[in-house]
Structure formats: structure tokens, C-alpha cells
Amino acid sequence: MSLAFQVDELQVRAGHNVLIDALSLSLKAGEALTLLGESGAGKSLLAQAIMGNLPSGLRASGQVRVGQHTSPAGEGAKRRPLWGRQIGLLPQEPWLALDPTMRVRDQVAETHALVTAVRWPEARTRAAHDLDAIGLAHARDHYPHQISGGMAQRVAFAAVHAGAAPLLIVDEPTKGLDAALRDDVVALLQQTLAEGGAVLTITHDVAVARALGGSIAVMQQGQIVEQGDAASVLNAPAHAYTRALLAAEPARWPDRPPTQIGQCLIQGRKLGKRFGHRLLFEQLDIHIHAGERLAIQGGSGSGKTTLGNILLGLIAPDHGEVLRAPGLPRQGLQKLYQDPAAAFAPRLSLGQALRDLIRLHRLDGRELGPLLTRLRLSPSLLERLPGQVSGGELQRIALARLLLLKPAVIFADEPTSRLDPLTQQETLTLLADTAETHGCALVLVTHDPDIATRLTSTQLQMP
């Protein structure tokens, strides 16, 4: 088997700060290499260093070889001609990576026409074939806003695949996807391997690494701490960090003991809701009791968030009614959002956001200190802006913000789907712990059945 790609002694620096150090990797045609690691470990920087499009201010040294082409890592511009032809890059969040003003077929056809230099009419025919082959025949003439995230993922794959590059780099392909869509992506990558392509996958999703097989490299703080074939790394992890990463998979979490359940706080009776012609749910009954932990489960677009918003009183159901326990104030129901960055004003310091809340509701500001300690947040974080702290920290600050209001029910909407597994486990455990300490009911929306069964005692499956 010929060598598809190799990096030697790759180092990436920002000034004197070393972000990736002495990294060497290689990959043969038809093989898979999965790079596992937490957010901020430098995984995405590695993809950029290989492509040669590092953000300005970062310097790379070492050698990068792609196929027969070798160049110094620092001279990224030399690898630009390889883009699409020798190296394919499957983008993160494909829904955003498709041009919103172009039909999907044209976005695939342009790779045929402009990268592999086929004539346009032929390119359009081939693009139609490509889309048929991945089950998107009906969506050829759709625009990106008319297709789902999973379909966008497949369109992006077809657009990259059309260039027939022997090396495919995949950066966080499953970010924000549910289990079914994740399996879809894995199937596409396996197909590439079967065709003789080499696949370098960068992810924090252990399930993807397990499904792809091949070899695994585990990265922590810019260095590879463990490397080997997939079976041995996953079954007999040698490094402590690898063990922690594997233990953070929701399927391996310990079960939480059930809690004391009190009176019924919110009751939804015969709820029904549709969006346009699509029925989300009907005749749905739900009860939320004091101190209860309940999971609302279901795939993308099944109406989980909508049901939550109906229970919170943010939107009205088409049918049925929501009854709240007498004496339960409006602030007694609080929501923890999926994307914490979108739940804070971007140009206000975090401390200001919390102080404003305390002033508005005339709360006792002295409670904030102990609350931050309990959530393992350093008070110095409060001087920063929301964009200057990590996703896990920001989600915990969002949690602190709603706990100040002493809610009776916390409604957490996929609160960790954008976090890496270790941070996810830490955040969710803390969420369940604090809900218990404060005596709140916790309603958790999740697409991950393992998280639902490990963390909560009652599960509601959306139709």
C-alpha cells in the first residue's frame, strides 16, 4: 500500500506558545486514522496545518507529505494546489458550509467541472448521479435551507468526493448530530475507505473512532499521548487521559440513584402541536414533579425543544393545556440553552450579566460566591466576556445564573451537545448534582439514549 500522507516533527506555535509539538503521523491508502482528543487539544489546528490554511499569527514547522508531494509545513501556500485534488476536507457543520443561494446539485457539479475539469453538462449529470447514489435524488434542485442537517452532511460529502482526492480529512463530522445521523456519516467514511481512500478523522466522539477502526492517536495539549491500532487503544488504553476519555462515554457512566419525588408542578394534558403541515405530536400527556429527573428523548426535529417551550409557557400548544401548580411563580421555571454563547450578551462581561440579574430581581448577591464555588468556577472568570471562556465554563455560568433565581424546574435543552465528552460528563454531573442540592426538578432534552438512561429516572420518548 502506498503512503497517502505523512507529517514529520510538526510544530505549531503562536509566538512562544507551542500549540502542537513534535507530532509525527502517517497513513496509508485505504486506511483510517482517527485523532481523538478534547476541545482545545490542537486537533483542528492539525487539520489546518496539513491543509496549509492556519489562521494568521500561527507558525508551523516540520514536513508535510501528501501523496508524492512533500513541502515544509510552514509553507502552506505550496499545498493550495492540492486542495480538492489530493486532499479533500469535509467541513464542520455542513449546513453552514453549503452556499445558501445555490442549488445543491450545482454545488456538487462545480467540483466535477472546476476541480476535475469535466465539461459542465457532463458535470451536472455526474452530480445528479452522485446525489442519487446517496439517496438524495428528490433533493437535487433544493437549496440548502430546504434540506436537513443530515442531508447537508451528505451533500457536502458528495461535493468533496467528486474531486476524488486520495486523502480525506474529516474535522468533527458528528458535532451536533444525533446517533442516527452519526451512523450515516460513518457509513460514508467507510465507503471512502473501501474505495481505497485514506481517511484522517479528527473527533472527540469515541463511537466514530470505534466504527472506523484502523489506527487511533490520542491528543492532549498539543501532543500525542497514545497511538496504536483502534482495537488495542480502545480496549486496553495505556494513558490515563485515554482512560478518562473512554470513561466519559455516556454508556459507561454510573447510574444515578433515583430522587425523592414531591407534588406535581407542571402538567401537560393532551398536548398537540404542528409546524405547517408537519405534526410534531398529539394527545401527549406529561407530568413534572418536584425533585424529579426526566429526559425527553428523540431524533433531530422530533419536537423536543418545542414540547419544552410549551411546558415553560414560551409558546402555546395547538391543542391541550398546560397546568402549573398554584403558587409556582413564572421565574420558577428556568431554561438552560443548547448554545450558551447565544444566551449571553456578547459585549457585556459575565459578572455584569449576573449583577444585572441580581439587581433586577432584588436577589441576595452574597449567594453568588458559594454558588460559583459549588459549580467549580473561579470568580476571576466573571471579568471576562462570554467569548473569552470555554464552552463548558460558559454553560456552568449559565447554570449559576438560573440557579440564582431558585427555580423549581430546570429545563435543559441539549446543554452539552456542543461540548467534548469529558466536559460533557463534568457539566451534566454537576447539573444533576446541583438540581438535587437545590431541590429542583430537572427536565433534560437529549438525543443520546445513554445520557438519558444514566442520568434520569424517567424517560419520555418523542414519537
Binding site: 467541513p91 458550509a97 452556499d99 445558501p100 443561494t101 437549496y143 461535493a159
Partner: protein, 318 residues
């Protein structure tokens, strides 16, 4: 697709059509009251317009008053005006006695020519510079265009017009200073208007373009293997055009305001010029006609902008 494609267009046309009716009714009524509330005796002014200030007498003014029914109570006059409007009859000029519709149809052509030249010129200057600036935010072109746009935007059109007259016609003698006798006469007023317009669209284009260039789909176009030029043409221009075209709708206000001032400054025989003169002479039907045409022009141009946005951005169609 067809059904989905037609209904938003019909929606725009229906909404804007209704708006045109409302605007006509409101503007017609408002202009009537504004004219009634102006100080001074309208009959005297009209008589002066007809016979010259030297020849106006109380008797001439009284004759005008009786002839035109200016002694009617206001509500009768208003009802009369509404009835005329409903029949698309704009009346006759109190000063010249010509049919207003004929006068305006003639002047509208000049105004549209000026507005069209100004818009075309501004689109050549503004978005092109904006795209260059947006390709390298913070670069030399970006800073120079920011300074230029700020300075141009800070000048009222008449000051800019006078500066251009001084520079291009008085000093250099390249272009006629005013009038409409020569083919090049339109250049100076159009350029004056275009510079102010370009100052706005340049900054909008710059922001739109830097946003597009930093978008994930632009990056994906590049990593797919497209050259910089191919990505710009296939994924850059159309996406950046969406906010620029939407902004044109806002610029209509600037155009209409500019047309009134610049036509007067450059003695360009359009509706703006006619409007100012009609106000001087208290030629109420002429004023009402001009204002009405401006208002409808505004709605029509905004309708075109809406349709262009629909054509450019498929997300608005569904």
C-alpha cells in the same frame, strides 16, 4: 417549484400595490392640508405667477380666487380633490393652465434619466470599492474608502454639487455646469447624486463581502479546490449582493431627496425642479401631483428592490 416561485412574487406585488393605494391617499390628503396651512394669500401668489409681481392687484387676486374656487370651505375642496384623484385626474396647473398629468409625464422622463444614471454610476463605484475593501478588512483600500465615504456622506448634496461645478466645469471646463441642452449635461448632477449613494453602498458592500469571505461556505469553496477567482464569482458575489440590493431600498429616500435639490441646483427640468417652482407659486394641483408621483415612484422602486431580493436569495422565496 412553480407554485412556490410565483406566490412570493404575487405576495410582494399585492402588498406593495395596497401600500401604493394607501400612500396615494395619505400623501394626497397631507399635501392638501400642508398647502392650506402655508402662510400668505394663495390667490395673490398664483396671480403673481400668472401676471408677474408688478401687475398683481387686489382685483386680479380676487378674480383668481373666484375662478379657482379658493374661497370654498376646505372640506369641499378636499372632497373635490379626492374625487379627482379617484378618476386619476390630477387637474390643471393654476399657473400655466396645462394638464398636470402631461407636464409630469414630460418631467418624469428627465427625473428617471437622472435617477437611473446616478444609480448606475453609484453601483459601479460603491460595491466595486466595497468588495476590494472587504477582501482585506483593515487594509489600505478599506481605510481609504472609509475616509472617502465618511467625507462624502457628511457633505449635503448641494455642497457637493457646487464643489463639483467649481472643479469640473468652472476650473477645468470639462462639463456643462447646468441645464439639459447637451448629452453631457446629465453627468454632473448624476455624479453628485452617485457619490453620496456610493458612499453608503460601498460600506454596506464592504461589510457584506467581508462576512461572506469569512463564512464557512466560502472556506468550503476554497478547500473544495476552486481558485480564488472561481470562489469569488460562484459563491461571493451573489451572496454579498443580497444585503447590497436590500440596502438600495433604503437609498431611495436619499435619491428622491437628492433629485429635488439637485434638479434645482443644476436647472434639470425634472419633477423635483417642477415641485420647487410649484411651491413658490402656490400651484396647489401641481404640488400635489409632484408629491404623489414621488410617493408612487418610491413604492415602485421599492417593489423592484423586493423582487430583485427574491430573485437573488432563494431563502426569501419559501
Amino acid at each position: 417549484m412553480n407554485i412556490q416561485g410565483i406566490s412570493p412574487v404575487a405576495g410582494v406585488l399585492g402588498r406593495r400595490g395596497l401600500q401604493a393605494l394607501l400612500v396615494a391617499a395619505l400623501v394626497g390628503t397631507l399635501s392638501f392640508f400642508l398647502m392650506r396651512m402655508l402662510p400668505g394669500d394663495a390667490a395673490y401668489r398664483i396671480a403673481a405667477g400668472r401676471y408677474g409681481y408688478d401687475l398683481v392687484s387686489a382685483a386680479a387676486a380676487e378674480a383668481v380666487r373666484v375662478e379657482l374656487g379658493l374661497d370654498q370651505p376646505w372640506y369641499l375642496a378636499l372632497v373635490g380633490w379626492w374625487a379627482q384623484l379617484a378618476e386619476f385626474d390630477l387637474g390643471t396647473s393654476l399657473v400655466t393652465g396645462h394638464a398636470i398629468a402631461d407636464d409630469i409625464a414630460h418631467q418624469l422622463g428627465h427625473t428617471l434619466l437622472l435617477a437611473f444614471c446616478a444609480m448606475a454610476l453609484s453601483l459601479l463605484i460603491g460595491p466595486a470599492l466595497g468588495i476590494l475593501a472587504g477582501l482585506r478588512p483593515g487594509g489600505a483600500i478599506d481605510r481609504i474608502t472609509l475616509l472617502g465615504a465618511t467625507v462624502l456622506r457628511a457633505f449635503p448634496p448641494f455642497v457637493l454639487g457646487i464643489l463639483l461645478i467649481l472643479g469640473l466645469s468652472v476650473h477645468l471646463g470639462y462639463l456643462p455646469a447646468a441645464g439639459h441642452g447637451e448629452a453631457t449635461s446629465v453627468v454632473l448632477p448624476a455624479l453628485t447624486l452617485a457619490l453620496g449613494l456610493a458612499a453608503g453602498s460601498c460600506r454596506i458592500a464592504r461589510d457584506a463581502f467581508s462576512q461572506v469571505v469569512n463564512s464557512p461556505y466560502y472556506a468550503f469553496g476554497r478547500t473544495k479546490g476552486l481558485s480564488d477567482r472561481q470562489v469569488l464569482l460562484r459563491h461571493g458575489l451573489r451572496n454579498a449582493a443580497v444585503p447590497i440590493v436590500a440596502y438600495l431600498g433604503m437609498q431611495m429616500v436619499f435619491i428622491i431627496e437628492g433629485v429635488v435639490i439637485l434638479e434645482t441646483l443644476f436647472a434639470w427640468p425634472g419633477i423635483g425642479h417642477a415641485l420647487i417652482h410649484a411651491i413658490f407659486w402656490r400651484d396647489v394641483p401641481m404640488i400635489q401631483g409632484c408629491v404623489l408621483v414621488f410617493a408612487l415612484l418610491f413604492v415602485t422602486l421599492n417593489t423592484l428592490v423586493d423582487l430583485a431580493c427574491l430573485a437573488l436569495d432563494p431563502r426569501r422565496r419559501h
